[in-house]
Structure formats: structure tokens, C-alpha cells
């Protein structure tokens, strides 16, 4: 049993080229932060604050994560409606 778990862990570790992982993620951490900053800067915060719940929290989460499908699932708001609100609240879709 223990050997099985260990084998599976080692197999999954072997899937990742760790040298590249650290190098790539160092770079992308900066890019994700830049994307978050762009969304924070561009968002119409007056519009967001005026929204009723759960829209207000969903839009704030969208600014932080940029992940519309994730936010739609968590908040229960339909993706089409959330996309419409994203557009109205001027939250850009940033490609890093």
C-alpha cells in the first residue's frame, strides 16, 4: 500500500521538468501580477460597488483571478450574464 502511494507520487513528480518549472513560474508570477494590476486599474469600481450580491463579489473575484468560468461556477451566475457584466464594469480579459 505504502509502496503504491510512493510510486504514484514519484510518477507524478517525474511528469514535471523541475528546472524549467521554477524558471517559467518565476516569469509567469510577474505576468499574472501585471494582468491583475491591469484589471484592477481598468475596472469601473463605482459600477462594481453599486451591483447587488452576488454580482458585486463575483466581479471583484473576476478582477483578482481573471477566470470567468471559475467565477461563474462559484457564484452561480450564468457565464453570458457575467460576460455582459464584465464588459460593463470594464474588466479586460488579459492574455499573459
Amino acid at each position: 500500500m505504502k509502496n503504491d502511494v510512493l510510486r504514484r507520487i514519484l510518477e507524478s513528480l517525474n511528469e514535471i521538468d523541475w528546472d524549467k518549472y521554477y524558471k517559467v513560474m518565476d516569469e509567469y508570477r510577474k505576468r499574472f501580477e501585471e494582468a491583475r494590476e491591469i484589471r484592477r486599474r481598468s475596472a469601473d469600481w463605482d459600477f462594481i460597488e453599486k451591483q447587488p450580491e452576488p454580482m458585486k463579489t463575483a466581479l471583484k473575484l473576476l478582477v483578482e483571478t481573471g477566470d470567468i468560468k471559475y467565477v461563474a461556477k462559484l457564484s452561480g451566475i450564468r457565464i453570458g450574464q457575467l460576460e455582459h457584466l464584465r464588459f460593463k464594469s470594464k474588466i479586460p480579459h488579459v492574455v499573459v
Partner: protein, 172 residues
């Protein structure tokens, strides 16, 4: 290059772009996984999808067990890396199909593109986003102009670092 697998976000973005037809200079035919269909709800994207189907430029990939198993594996692998943006089931399915058939995967989600740089499992998969395709289609002044138009039409913003990576100097 004749065919590429396309993700919902990519298709929706290109459906809004005024020069969307140019994409077919790179890929005469796009393959859309059936599982992705339900994600396409905007009328622009649906119209675009129907026009492509009419002109024979779009095929729908059926959902099969073999791809599902591979997709679940990639879904688990990519989502187990907490720093990466997450990948959802339809994206994982598209990525798995592209991997098994050796064809490009078009998506504007950064996770598969970043993950392929260090995940041995998908290292050979060609993952391309909209900027990559714009760079393949246009050059020089036209490229800059088309990037601006793409961002205006779709509401997408390419990060400065991403643009610099492609040696594009862009001032807002």
C-alpha cells in the same frame, strides 16, 4: 497545416474580430470538440460557428472514451499545479485531442501554453493563442494595426510582457 483544435474562448474572440476570416489562411479547417459547443452562447459566436459549418470550415469532434481518459489525466495534472490558472474540462478535452492527433490547439487560456513548457506529457503539443496567430498572419506595421484592432474588437488586452516576448512595442 490543415486543421487545428479550437477552444471556446478562442472561437468567441475571433468571432468578434473584423478580420476573422484571415484565420483560415493558417488553418483551412477548425475542429471544435462537442463538449465545447455548450459553452458557446453569444449570438456573434453562434453566427460565426454556423457560417463556418456552412462553408465546410468547421468539424465537430465527437466525445469518446479514449480522449476523455487522456483529458482527465491532463486536467488533473495541470490543475494540481496551484500557481497555474486552472484548466476546465472542455479545454482539457481539446488539449487531449490535439495531443493524441499531433495537431495544434488554439486557446487564449494561458494554462496549457505555460504548462507545456515544463510538463513532459504535453511538451510536443503545439499550443497557440490569438497573439501567436496574429503574428503568423501579419508583419510590420500591419501586425501592430491588427493587434490594436483585435484588442478593440474583442476586449482582450495582451500583457506588455507577452507583447515584448514577440518583440512588439505597443503604446496605449
Amino acid at each position: 497545416m490543415s486543421i487545428a483544435v479550437v477552444d471556446a474562448c478562442f472561437l468567441i474572440n475571433w468571432s468578434r474580430f473584423r478580420y476573422r476570416e484571415d484565420l483560415f489562411k493558417l488553418y483551412p479547417r477548425l475542429a471544435l470538440p462537442e463538449i465545447v459547443l455548450s459553452e458557446i452562447r453569444s449570438s456573434d459566436a453562434k453566427r460565426f460557428m454556423l457560417s463556418l459549418a456552412t462553408s465546410g470550415k468547421l468539424i465537430i469532434i465527437p466525445r469518446v472514451n479514449l480522449i476523455d481518459r487522456e483529458a482527465l489525466k491532463l486536467f488533473t495534472l495541470i490543475n494540481s499545479i496551484p500557481e497555474l490558472p486552472r484548466i476546465d474540462e472542455p479545454e482539457a478535452y481539446g488539449l487531449a485531442y490535439a495531443k493524441l492527433h499531433g495537431i495544434p490547439f488554439l486557446t487564449d487560456n494561458a494554462a496549457p501554453r505555460i504548462a507545456r513548457e515544463f510538463l513532459r506529457e504535453i511538451r510536443e503539443v503545439q499550443v497557440l493563442d490569438s497573439l501567436e496567430d496574429l503574428c503568423r498572419l501579419y508583419s510590420g506595421e500591419y501586425l501592430l494595426l491588427r493587434i490594436k484592432e483585435f484588442m478593440r474588437d474583442t476586449g482582450i488586452v495582451f500583457s506588455k510582457k507577452r507583447l515584448r516576448e514577440k518583440r512588439i512595442e505597443y503604446e496605449e
